[in-house]
């Protein structure tokens, strides 16, 4: 599968799937957001960090479920019913979503939210029709989680 984007398009010009997790809005490049899934009961993994809520089986693959709010140091939720399935070359993650706002073009002068930690893989502030969003950099966030979980 090829994940390259046309070279003339910038991050902001591409479509992004916008969703809420807790009180914040996030956006993920549309080509990385495979689908929005209804979460089944999750299997908890022993020794997993608090942002890793559990796993579920999806089309013959085990998918970890990440609570972005907890990962980013906020107040996590406990009753998520849906998640955005994010796919990169090395695997898939499900990011919990309290609301999905659809695909939008994000505008704004984007910069990494931090030099370190998971925020280093988010850019903002992006302007979407439903409010300010933090844009997730899928490969970077995936690798961060692979190193730290």
């Amino acid at each position: 599968m090829c994940y390259d984007s046309p070279p003339h398009m910038t991050d902001a010009a591409r479509g992004h799937l916008v969703f809420a997790c807790g009180e914040s809005l996030y956006a993920i490049p549309a080509e990385r957001s495979a689908e929005v899934v209804s979460l089944p009961p999750l299997t908890r993994v022993p020794g997993a960090p608090s942002h890793l809520l559990g796993v579920f089986a999806h089309r013959g693959e085990v998918v970890p479920v990440i609570d972005l709010a907890t990962l980013l140091g906020g107040k996590g939720g406990s009753n998520y019913k849906r998640a955005v399935l994010m796919r990169v070359a090395r695997g898939a993650l499900a990011l919990t979503a309290s609301r999905v706002a659809g695909v939008n073009v994000i505008e704004g002068e984007l910069a990494a939210l931090s030099d370190t930690g998971p925020q280093a893989h988010l850019k903002g502030p992006g302007k979407s029709p439903v409010g300010d969003v933090a844009i997730i950099e899928p490969e970077g966030l995936f690798e961060f989680l692979a190193q730290g979980s």
Partner: protein, 122 residues
């Protein structure tokens, strides 16, 4: 799912309501364990739970206490470990057993016992 990815024989365990499994072929012995039986790593530690009496399982190098267990014969589909979980629980995840009730973590006893011992020491 690749039908070649199967496992035959499981020791299905519980700790505080959480499920996990070991390959039956890797387990050397199963016995009772009481709180007075001496220090052994408890699976409950990995879930942040206090100790209770349970079953002691061992392989050639290590031991672990679980709340309860059952031995299941037969072949079960085995799913791979996601990259994001490759270091979780001290790298003790060997896969996930696909069941009707969802995926069950398949653990390597020696690595998981060592991981739990490290958690208990903190």
């Amino acid at each position: 799912m690749n039908p070649a990815h199967e496992i035959e024989g499981l020791v299905l365990c519980q700790a505080g309501g959480f499920r996990f499994a070991f390959a039956a072929a890797t387990i050397a012995s199963i016995g009772a364990w009481e709180l007075s039986s001496g220090e052994v790593p408890l699976a409950r530690t990995a879930f942040g739970l206090p100790p209770v009496p349970g079953k002691l399982i061992t392989d050639e190098r290590s031991a672990l206490v679980v709340d309860s267990l059952e031995v299941a014969a037969g072949r079960y589909p085995l799913l791979g470990v996601p990259v994001v979980l490759s270091r979780t629980a001290g790298g003790s995840l060997a896969g996930f057993v696909a069941t009707a009730d969802g995926p069950v973590p398949l653990l390597k006893l020696t690595e998981f016992s060592a991981f739990v011992s490290g958690q208990g020491a903190h």
